[in-house]
């Protein structure tokens, strides 16, 4: 198609007549097509925008692909790798619900997460904001936290059980230990990113240090802190599973262990589904909370 060098692909047809009357463009040196530059290709442009319907279409395609993979795996006859069909999984899920087990497991696990992760976030916010704002605090805590961060929290499970027994406290402690160091460091990064000008402007408007910490540094960090909470929540669930695998009477991970004893693969799959759904729901809820609390920080 004879297009002028400046004409885009979309208007090529419209410009073909004037292009013909112009001197023909110089022979393309490097490109394969006619005209200068590299022609954009739909879906392959880095960092470019996509029309809304294309996004939804691709998202649906991704989910459909996973579901198809599941169907295929379930239909494959195998004596060792037994995959329950989506239908069986759904039945198992309904049974868990009607027995009331799903609800009691959800609340038991949810409560552990709630307590453990709230403590972890509280420490993360206070220490993180202080570390991001005061070099003295950062210098004091950076080394011990960097060290503790590399000690796998799951490796502390036996120790926690010998110290704290097998009831709720070791489980909550493990959730705290598995997330708090990440929370502190990441909140610290968020607080450090508060523009210096904002802090200085508030000083020149008469704000004191504590006011600046609360009203400026914390306020500016809030959307970032909610994002940190959102990202590290996955690690909290990981620690919950570790703690429930070892000693529990109820809880989502306990349900999986129990199902394993009876080879109830459909129940195991049902609980895995619940994990995924709960994760996505809390993720969306925290995103919503971030946008609600800080509409100015929306990307």
């Amino acid at each position: 198609m004879p297009t002028g060098s400046a004409a885009s692909a979309g208007t090529a047809a419209a410009t073909s007549a004037p292009a013909a009357s112009r001197p023909s463009p110089a022979p393309a040196g490097r490109g394969r097509g006619k005209g200068r530059g590299r022609r954009p290709i739909l879906l392959l442009e880095l960092r470019s925008q996509l029309p809304g319907y294309v996004r939804w279409l691709l998202a649906a395609l991704g989910l459909a692909a996973v579901f198809a993979l599941w169907l295929w795996a379930a239909s494959r006859p195998s004596r060792t790798v037994i995959v329950p069909s989506p239908g069986d999984t759904w039945t198992a899920l309904r049974e868990l619900w009607t027995d009331g087990l799903l609800w009691s497991d959800l609340t038991a696990s949810g409560e552990r997460i709630l307590y453990g992760y709230s403590i972890s976030m509280a420490i993360g916010i206070v220490l993180g904001v202080a570390m991001g704002s005061l070099l003295a605090v950062e210098a004091t805590f950076e080394a011990p936290i960097a060290f503790m961060r590399y000690v796998p929290a799951a490796a502390l499970t036996p120790l926690m059980m010998s110290w704290l027994g097998i009831d709720e406290s070791p489980k909550i402690t493990l959730i705290v230990l598995g997330t708090v160091f990440f929370n502190v460091l990441m909140v610290g990064d968020v607080a450090r990113a508060v523009p210096r000008e904002l802090i200085e402007a508030s000083y020149t408007l008469g704000a004191r240090r504590t006011t600046v910490l609360g009203r400026i540094v914390f306020r500016h960090s809030l959307p970032g802190i909610i994002d940190v909470a959102r990202i590290n929540l996955a690690a909290a669930w990981l620690m919950l599973v570790v703690s429930e695998l070892l000693a529990a009477n109820e809880g989502l991970a306990f349900r999986i262990i129990k199902a394993q004893r009876f080879k109830n693969y459909d129940t195991m799959f049902a609980v895995l589904l619940v994990f995924g759904v709960v994760g996505v729901v809390t993720d969306l809820a925290l995103r919503w909370l971030r946008n609600l609390s800080s509409p100015w920080a929306r990307p």
Binding site: E200, T204, L205, G206, T211, R219, S294
Partner: protein, 268 residues
């Protein structure tokens, strides 16, 4: 000098930044004296790195001097405070607060009762031409409008001195020109005492009553120019021969530094 009251007085101000790694220390200010009278608009002009922003930050209390003295109304400056309002180059508005909320911020800290506060905010919104944008967030405003909010916010607690650190440096040329008119009108209406740092000669000559020219290494004042223009004359004065002469004189004063830097042997 004039009999006007000295609002801001700086004497023998020195500041040296330690060099990074093995680099030698940088003498940002090597004994600077200057003053701003009550209700005067004074500019401090110099090439980047001459220490003019450091000087302003010291006056604002955001940086500490090594030696010398900064007096506001005869009292030494020891830290930041609402008596010295500061306006930065950009990005200093609180993004979660509306225009009115930003202007209100300093008043609230000062403990002004809420009735007086909303009255003062409304008044400033009017003066700044921001009334219809009171409920907007900073990210919804243009660059020029944001700087107007920043000026209103700094003026709200009625500071003794207003410090402007290249306030229009990040704006496009057209917006900058309209902000010049805006600053002039604010200055006339409020009678504020203003010290402005800039590297734009036209800006300094057009807006100020007096201009200090700074040279670097160490930062020092090399020239002081009193401007003869009647306040209140419009942008037409920019084409008057007198304006052009003064502009050239200041340009020369600035350039002489470059010559001195290129040939250190010839410098006095």
């Amino acid at each position: 000098m004039t009999g006007a009251m000295r609002k801001l007085e700086i004497t023998g101000l020195t500041k040296t930044f330690p060099g990074r790694r093995k680099a030698p220390p940088v003498e940002a200010l090597g004994g600077v004296d200057l003053h701003v009278d009550e209700g005067e608009l004074v500019s401090l002009i110099g090439t980047s790195g001459c220490g003019k922003s450091t000087l302003l930050r010291i006056v604002g209390g955001l940086e500490r001097a090594d030696g010398g003295e900064v007096l506001v109304d005869g009292e030494p400056v020891i830290g930041p405070g609402p008596d010295r309002g500061m306006i930065f180059q950009g990005y200093s508005l609180f993004p979660w607060l509306t225009v009115a909320g930003n202007i209100n911020f300093g008043l609230k800290l000062a403990g002004v009762p809420s009735g007086r506060r909303s009255q003062r905010v409304a008044e400033l919104l009017g003066v700044m031409g921001l009334a219809e944008h009171a409920g907007r967030l900073p990210r919804e405003l243009s660059g020029g409008m944001r700087q107007r909010v920043a000026i209103a916010r700094a003026l709200a607690p009625e500071p003794d001195v207003l410090l402007l650190d290249e306030p229009f440096g990040a704006l496009d040329a057209q917006t900058r020109l309209s902000m010049h008119e805006f600053l002039r009108s604010v200055w006339h209406r409020t009678g504020a005492t203003i010290l402005m740092v800039t590297h734009d000669v036209d800006e300094a000559v057009y807006l100020s009553r007096r201009v200090y020219v700074m040279h670097a290494h160490p930062g020092r004042i090399v020239d002081e120019v009193q401007l003869p223009f009647e306040p209140g004359l419009g942008p037409s004065i920019k084409r008057s021969p007198q304006f052009l002469d003064i502009r050239d004189e200041i340009h020369e004063a600035l350039v002489s530094e470059d010559a001195a830097e290129r040939e250190p042997a010839s410098s006095s």
